[in-house]
């Protein structure tokens, strides 16, 4: 029992050191300061790359903490369709991600999908809408641009009516994207959310240019979101023997499976050609994609091309069809062999015929999928306002906005959604402050140095406090805080399962994978409450109270350690005023 007494006898060894119990509050080291730190949030490169300017860093932060409600609301602030975009967006965010310079980009796309799906399965409606402001807008077309315009207009208090030519909503989302990329239930559930929020869609309403003036009676503005509805033709003899690719996709989507068997030549190199080829494969046919340049120049998204080739689809490059002939039991396509020209056009390699070299290809069907263009009646080049994603023209005193594929050069769902958002904000500024204020307001609402406009900034949300034009580069990330962690690989169905059906190919992240991936995000430029600044402050000048972090200027000596340590460039050092 006396072990402690034995081993710890009274210690009489001399021990005299300097110590004090006086605190340091009286030592106001703030007088030493000539530079001061400041919490200054900035734009992450992913947000800068996103056509919608989504606050990705914030979404990943919430998602990694399982705060799906806030993650969803952060996306919905800029994008009405997270579950759709989480599937069909070409995710330029990932190509811009700073993490690629450490190991691999964060899988932002799949995280958005997870959050979007969580919203659908938990029936989360967005934010409280404001009271209606009395103004009413009409929207022509229930595709991505039209639905986006309606959504953001409703968020600004406008009453909206959508006029849709067909009998269902979605536009290109439903007619142009196969269900193995975007299942019906996801598409319809996300659109249903807008319906639930009081946005009216009137179906089977075909509107022509000459009827626009009649809208002046009931509407304060009109948004043309009709999309590219006319397929571009091949302009070669025998073209009438080819099947229109966009029409084919529409038929497949509405389960009118046309009977297409055997070898099928799919002409084109864009997403439509890939979608057609992959759909045909699922219907049991043997598609061959024929493109007049090489794979490198194909306008389709590289990951879509990869998926098609992985599924075993043949790609024939440098071949341009010049003639289609009907032969017994088959079609014969005459193909001109193309070669690279020495002249390149705006950085893109041009191709010219390689003399008279030709090939003949015998197939059962030919599908033309070389793209679409707008209906001629919407053509116009006189504008009152011209912005990156929309144009405006006064027609008989009615503000008419051209949106979506009618104005944008990057014909993607995400750009179309951005177009609807931009047009609505432009209208709101126009009505409240007049034409002259639009450019100024857009400059204030810009995310990074691109063209994305933030609805959150426009609505005076928290993002307004940021230095939105400053983009966080990898050099500004304190990489010492981030060990290498490889990206989480997304789950895919087995090829046997998806090649024989139109079931979704990518099955997304489960919750654990999603959290793992979202936790890899640097959260560039935003304060995620990591507390590193407070821990490192040698003067204990950084205080945390009432859920807020602030700097006690009486004690901050301006050493800048907080800024050097901040893992994610959410602080700045400024010279004393």
């Amino acid at each position: 029992m006396n072990q402690s007494i034995q081993t710890q006898p009274p210690n009489n060894v001399s021990l005299l050191i300097s110590q004090s119990r006086t605190n340091t509050l009286g030592n106001k080291t703030g007088t030493w300061r000539f530079v001061r730190p400041k919490y200054q949030e900035k734009t992450a490169p992913c947000s800068n790359a996103c056509p919608l300017g989504i606050d990705v860093a914030m979404v990943e932060m919430f998602a990694s903490r399982k705060n799906y409600q806030n993650a969803l609301h952060t996306i919905l602030m800029e994008n009405p369709f997270p579950a759709i975009c989480g599937r069909v967006c070409f995710h330029p965010c990932e190509s811009a991600c700073n993490r690629q310079f450490l190991d691999q980009s964060v899988g932002i796309h799949q995280i958005e999908r997870f959050v979007g799906d969580w919203g659908l399965s938990n029936q989360q409606s967005p934010i409280q809408y404001p009271e209606l402001n009395g103004a009413k807008i009409g929207i022509i077309g229930a595709g991505p641009a039209g639905l986006s315009a309606a959504y953001f207009a409703r968020r600004l208090g406008y009453q909206c009516d959508i006029f849709e030519k067909t009998n269902q909503p979605g536009g290109l989302l439903i007619s142009g994207i196969p269900s193995y990329r975007l299942p019906d239930r996801i598409l319809m559930n996300e659109i249903q959310r807008l319906n639930d929020d009081g946005i009216q869609i009137k179906y089977n309403q075909s509107i022509s240019m000459d009827k626009l003036a009649t809208f002046k009676q009931d509407y304060d503005a009109l948004f043309l979101c009709c999309g590219d509805t006319r397929s571009i033709t091949l302009k070669i003899p025998g073209e009438n023997l080819a099947i229109d690719g966009l029409n084919l996709l529409r038929q497949i989507r509405s389960h009118e499976m046309p009977s297409i068997e055997g070898t099928v030549a799919v002409i084109g190199g864009g997403n439509t050609a890939i979608d057609v080829a992959r759909s045909l494969l699922r219907m049991g046919a043997n598609p061959i994609i024929i493109y007049r340049r090489t794979r490198k120049e194909m306008p389709a998204h590289p990951h879509e091309i990869d998926a098609a080739l992985d599924e075993g689809i043949t790609l024939k490059e440098c071949l341009s069809p010049i003639h289609i002939q009907d032969e017994t039991n088959c079609l014969c396509v005459t193909l001109q062999v193309m070669k690279a020209s020495e002249i390149s056009n705006e950085g893109r390699q041009s191709y010219i015929p390689d003399g008279n070299r030709r090939e003949k290809l015998q197939v059962n069907h030919v599908i033309s999928a070389i793209g679409a263009e707008m209906d001629m009646m919407w053509r116009n080049d006189q504008w009152d306002i011209s912005l990156s994603h929309c144009r405006m023209k006064q027609i008989s005193g009615l503000s008419v906005f051209w949106c979506g594929d009618l104005t944008i050069s990057d014909k993607t769902v995400t750009h179309a959604l951005a177009s609807g958002k931009q047009a609505v904000i432009a209208l709101d500024v126009l009505r409240k402050h007049g034409n002259d204020e639009i450019h100024k307001t857009f400059h204030q609402c810009k995310v990074g140095n691109g063209q994305a406009i933030s609805f959150d900034i426009y609505a005076q949300g928290k993002r307004k406090q940021r230095n939105n034009n400053e983009i966080v580069s990898f050099e500004k990330i304190n990489a010492a805080y981030f060990p290498n962690i490889p990206a989480v690989q997304v789950n895919k169905q087995s090829q046997e399962a998806y090649l024989n059906s139109f079931e979704e190919v990518i099955s997304g992240f489960d919750e654990k994978q999603m959290i793992g991936e979202a936790s890899r995000c640097f959260n560039c430029g935003i304060c995620n409450d990591c507390d590193t600044c407070r821990i490192f402050c040698p003067e204990m000048a950084i205080q945390w109270d009432q859920n807020n972090r602030h700097i006690l200027m009486d004690y901050c000596k301006g050493c800048g350690i907080c800024i050097a340590e901040c893992p994610r460039d959410a602080m700045n050092l400024e010279v004393e005023p």
């Binding site: 072990q3 402690s4 001399s14 021990l15």
Partner: protein
């Protein structure tokens, strides 16, 4: 349980058994194996300790100072240039009276670049206020490390456990590794006399003006002066539990010896062999292995040398301009005693060069013949061919 252990790992095992809470170190040959093993123990939960990786030895000691101020057992290890880089903080650790324990693997300083055994690195730190304990075998390394914690915590001074590069750090020997229960009995949970307390905040190490500073330095010296008695108690208890004892010095064949060698470290083993040869030839020769260098165990040495005519000191170091450091220390320790022996100073085995039985015989023969010690240390084992080689071709004045 006996195991064949590398000398470095004898330190690691002792640190693990001492239940150290914070280890901070920067790798340097020949020390690295010590902390390499410890980092693995921390990683695989064999130890409940934090291993702090740092960017330099200066920071390693700073981390230990921080952790020790918070009241936990700490450990670091270093060598040569690494120890030299720590120098400022060695003073701080002792001045702050923190019982930090460090393993110091004796290695030469460059240039010429040399990773081998030499005592200059630890002896350069003799005035920092650290207790220095030199070891000869793997077993002694393990035992001394455990004793070091008891001693450091008893007198509130940091302890350096010193072992020879490669001759000891990289040599495998059978070592009896004690069981945890016995170690816990010898080295109970640390009850710090200095410890930061969040409930009762205080600041330590402030400005001490002329009216206060000197007493603090006096206190360090008082603590150093108590070390011999405290170490005696600790060794008694250690012997009781583990049946092994070393003493501040370890004499061999000294009772009737007219000639006594004195040195620290592994060369003592070689010297004992030389003693056997000399005894066979009829010379009354013995050897003192010096374990404790700081504080200098004057009273033990004086007692041991009462019959001695001549002391032969081997220094594997050189204080340039003054000669072998152990010899200087011994001279000043013996000066005040009546009829003190003559002290002969030899320098040998620098930068990892072997010190052989023949070298000891040479030192003995030299000492036996001499009437008086030379004014300067005598160098043994120099290569005459290299001595006459001047390899720097300077410009001649014409």
């Amino acid at each position: 349980m006996k195991e064949v252990l590398e000398g470095s790992h004898a330190v690691s095992e002792a640190v693990r058994l001492a239940r150290v809470k914070v280890i901070s170190a920067y790798p340097i040959t020949p020390q690295t194996h010590i902390v390499e093993a410890l980092s693995e123990y921390c990683a695989n939960d064999s130890m409940d300790a934090r291993f702090i990786c740092v960017e330099s030895e200066h920071s390693a000691m700073a981390s230990c100072i921080g952790a020790a101020s918070a009241g936990v057992r700490t450990f670091t290890a270093s060598s040569s240039h690494g120890l030299a880089l720590m120098h400022e903080l060695l003073h701080w650790a002792a001045g702050a009276r923190l019982p930090i324990v460090m393993a110091e693997v004796n290695r030469a300083l460059g240039p010429g670049w040399n990773i081998w055994m030499d005592q200059s690195d630890s002896l350069s730190q003799r005035d920092t206020g650290w207790i220095q304990l030199y070891c000869e075998t793997g077993q002694e390394v393990l035992d001394t490390t455990l004793q070091a914690y008891r001693l450091a915590e008893r007198v509130n001074l940091p302890v350096m456990v010193v072992l020879d590069a490669f001759f000891l750090s990289h040599t495998y020997e059978p070592v009896d590794i004690p069981d945890q229960t016995s170690v816990d009995k010898f080295l109970p949970t640390y009850c710090p006399r200095i410890s930061l307390d969040q409930e009762n905040p205080n600041a330590i190490g402030q400005m001490a003006p002329p009216a206060y500073y000197m007493e603090m330095r006096h206190s360090i010296q008082m603590a150093m002066q108590s070390v011999l008695d405290e170490f005696e108690d600790i060794e008694r208890e250690f012997h009781h539990i583990f049946d092994r004892t070393y003493g501040p010095i370890t004499p061999f064949a000294c009772d009737d010896a007219e000639y006594v060698f004195l040195m620290a470290g592994t060369s003592a083993s070689t010297c004992r062999q030389a003693i056997t040869t000399l005894r066979d030839r009829g010379h009354k020769a013995g050897v003192i292995k010096l374990k404790m260098f700081r504080p200098f165990p004057t009273r033990y040495i004086r007692k041991c040398l009462t019959q001695t005519k001549k002391v032969i000191v081997l220094d594997r170091n050189c204080s340039f301009g003054a000669g072998g450091i152990f010899a200087q220390e011994l001279r000043s320790a013996m000066y005040a005693s009546d009829n003190h022996p003559q002290i002969y100073s030899f320098i040998s085995g620098l930068g990892g060069r072997d010190v052989t039985v023949d070298h000891f015989i040479e030192m003995f023969d030299h000492t036996e013949k001499a009437n008086h010690p030379e004014n300067e240390s005598v160098w043994i084992g120099l290569n005459p061919e290299q001595l006459n080689c001047d390899n720097v071709k300077g410009k001649k004045n014409e």
